[in-house]
């Protein structure tokens, strides 16, 4: 195969795999930020906390990190509901959710990072399953399982969530609360409870993303800083409240980053990827799958 074509093909494939990780990290935000209008800037920090928990539990129990991520997701769901309770009680209920709510989640982010340093130390933590050192070679294309396995888990979790949101009453209520909480109240559904469940789901997704991240790379308490800009950009590019849009935007981000890195060097990757974001917003201000208000 022509070397340039091989580079392109591998850039696209590795970009799609990277997009799987980005989708895992951004999908939870699509719920909290996109559907609930809660600027949870602590989402990547919670993802890293989940990753740390995966390392500790996985090491202690001898379990696969992705399995641990799934098993601990209910605990993170509960954590999410508790966080929302606090946020609602102190800010949203009083109409202070805009600036003070943002400050709240900034504080949560800070507490999570420093708390991890105090409890676990600042060192890198890792938990490598055996398959993380295996690379499938499909002709000219390399597919490292280190990237493939987390991407598949992330897509499966997002697909399950999407089905839940489209088929279940609670899922439809979550979609409704994003549009009109008062209308929901008229139908005898407590919008605060629905929001609490939705926020819990978003943090449960952070658990999945944390497990995916651990397989991809070692983590440290400050690792979340790498993801903050990207996950918000992906969420916005996808159309805020749209899970399919979020996945598509994550793939686009990953592919643009990696193809750019292949041909023009990695220093151009963020500029070109965020340039795509601007381009998308210029032609579709509502994002790829978003609806105009």
């Amino acid at each position: 195969m022509d070397p340039t074509l091989s580079l392109l093909l591998n850039g696209v494939v590795s970009g799609l795999l990277l997009g799987g990780l980005y989708a895992a990290a951004a999908s939870g935000l699509a719920i909290s930020f996109g559907m609930l209008d809660i600027v949870n800037i602590a989402h990547p920090a919670l993802m890293v906390a989940a990753g740390m928990s995966v390392v500790l539990l996985g090491t202690a129990l001898g379990l696969d990190p992705l399995l641990v991520a799934v098993l601990q997701a209910p605990a993170f769901f509960l954590l999410g509901t508790l966080l929302y309770r606090a946020y609602h009680h102190f800010f949203e209920r009083r109409g202070d959710e805009a600036l003070q709510g943002l400050a709240f989640f900034f504080g949560v982010m800070f507490i999570v990072e420093v708390g991890l340093v105090l409890l676990l130390g600042p060192e890198q933590r890792f938990l490598d399953p055996d398959y993380a050192f295996v690379t499938w070679r499909l002709g000219e294309v390399d597919v490292p399982l280190r990237m493939l396995a987390p991407a598949l888990l992330a897509l499966a979790a997002i697909a399950a969530l999407w089905v839940f949101l489209r088929r279940s009453f609670t899922g439809l209520a979550i979609a409704a609360v994003a549009q009109d909480p008062e209308a929901l109240r008229l139908m005898a559904v407590d919008p605060v409870r629905i929001k609490r469940i939705a926020f819990g789901l978003s943090i449960a997704l952070a658990s999945i993303a944390g497990g995916a991240l651990v397989v991809v790379q070692p983590i440290e308490p400050a690792s979340h800083q790498v993801f903050i800009g990207r996950v918000f950009a992906i969420c916005i590019m996808g159309g805020m409240a749209s899970l399919p849009g979020c996945v598509l935007a994550a793939f686009l981000f990953g592919v643009v980053e990696n193809v750019t890195a292949s041909f023009y060097g990695p220093s151009w990757s963020p500029a070109v990827a965020f340039g795509w974001l601007l381009l998308v917003l210029a032609f579709r201000p509502q994002g790829l799958f978003g609806r105009l208000a």
Binding site: F110, E113, Q124, Q217, P218, E220, A222, S267
Partner: protein, 425 residues
């Protein structure tokens, strides 16, 4: 007498400590002789954030030094007390912390935070107050400032561009076959860019044609496409200038794509750290990279073994690097410089300290040191080591000679180069 530690503080008042970490004073050392007018030495250190791994282990090393000194009766007959604040790895926090240390806490002496990015913003405060300043792992900070009370505990010397990559390129002469092509990949930060500039500038002298020369942002997650682009150029020699955790990502991608080269490594920061060594295991085998310390027989300077024994006994409980084979001996030596100078002049006088440090040499656990006019090491000592016989991630081997063999400089050389990178142990 109770020891007030940062962790202890955190455990008893976690929430409060967390939310006020930026502004809280930390005095993690024994409050020895508070009635005996202790000599107070202040610094900011990265105890959280991206630089915390090295910051916390440096702090442990300095704490061990303070305990050693106090056990011997202190300095100038007074106990030593260290005062430290967490700069959160954020350069913007540093000037205010040094202002507080000097103007409010009225410490007698100041030492630096860890690394160039944190040292640079402290310089205006330190210079305005005329403090004698011994820094830790800064690179070229004083190049333009030319502050005559600045002294650097770092092996890079005055001329990073002219010296840094020399050792790596000298290793090409040890290869069985001549090499022709070189690829360079460096992270976008000051130190790595200087390292890349150094190898770029000397490549022609070693008959190397540069076939790939790129930078990457510190936020890069996936290095696979970049390594593949390097692989497409088929370089004989590969030079990376990277920081953790990028070094880890780069070497994982190198392993996955089976990139091989006669000489691969360069100025990578990360493989010196125990956690990285544990994770990467055999991926490190035959990697040739910059370093500052290796427990080879040629580096057994007086006191270093005793220091490492104390450090390693406490590191697991402190949840910091368990080996102490990187900056930790230098953090201890940084304090030895201050102690020896104080002992010579017999008083705390910033001007006299600086004059003494310029005029005299120091015997430290990292060897004898003299400072240049710029305050850097007069004789640069960039080590280039090769990881050899690494078959797994067990860390015990790194406590003994043979795992990180010194190839350069010749005076410290402890083994022969093995090539290529990618060959099994």
């Amino acid at each position: 007498m109770s020891e007030l530690t940062r962790r202890g503080l955190g455990r008893t008042a976690l929430a409060g400590a967390l939310t006020t970490a930026a502004g809280s004073a930390i005095a993690p050392w024994p409050a020895l002789g508070q009635g005996a007018n202790p000599i107070r030495i202040g610094c900011s250190m990265s105890l959280s954030g991206g630089l915390a791994a090295n910051g916390r282990s440096a702090q442990l090393a300095q704490r061990i030094w303070a305990e050693d000194v106090n056990a011997r009766g202190g300095l100038l007959g007074r106990p030593v007390q260290l005062v430290s604040y967490d700069d959160q790895s954020n350069p913007a926090n540093v000037p205010a912390l040094y202002t507080k240390l000097v103007d409010v806490d009225k410490v007698d002496l100041v030492t630096s935070p860890y690394a160039t990015a944190m040292i640079a913003p402290s310089m205006p405060v330190v210079m305005q107050r005329g403090m004698c300043y011994v820094t830790l792992f800064g690179a070229g900070v004083n190049e333009r400032l030319k502050y005559d009370r600045y002294f650097s505990m770092n092996v890079t010397g005055d001329d990073i561009k002219g010296h840094y990559a020399r050792g790596f390129l000298e290793c090409t002469k040890m290869l069985p076959h001549p090499v022709r092509s070189l690829s360079i990949l460096a992270v976008d930060n000051d130190f790595a860019q200087r390292a890349a500039e150094s190898v770029r500038g000397m490549a022609r002298e070693y008959g190397l044609r540069i076939v790939y020369d790129r930078s990457y942002p510190p936020t890069t997650v996936d290095f696979t496409p970049t390594i593949r682009a390097i692989q497409a150029q088929r370089p004989d020699v590969v030079f990376f200038a990277s920081y953790p955790p990028d070094s880890n990502g780069i070497l994982r991608a190198v392993s996955e794509l089976k990139l091989s080269a006669a000489l691969l490594g360069g100025g990578m920061v990360g493989p010196q750290i125990a956690a990285v060594q544990a994770q990467l295991g055999p991926i490190l085998n035959n990697l040739v990279t910059w370093d500052v310390y290796s427990p080879e027989p040629t580096m057994q300077f007086p006191g270093v073994v005793e220091f490492q024994e104390k450090y390693r006994a406490r590191a697991p409980a402190e949840q910091t690097d368990v080996l102490g084979n990187y900056l930790q001996p230098y953090a201890y030596a940084q304090m030895q410089v201050i102690a020896q100078s104080l002992a010579r002049i017999g008083k705390i006088d910033q001007e006299a300290l600086a004059k003494d440090m310029h005029a005299n040499g120091f015997e430290t656990i990292v060897g004898p040191i003299r400072f240049s006019a710029l305050g850097e090491w007069a004789e640069p000592r960039n080590l280039f080591v090769q990881f050899q016989n690494i078959a797994d991630g067990d860390l015990e081997k790194y406590k003994k000679p043979g795992a990180k063999v010194i190839l350069y400089p010749p005076a410290l050389k402890s083994g022969e180069l093995k090539s290529p990178y990618g060959a099994p142990a």
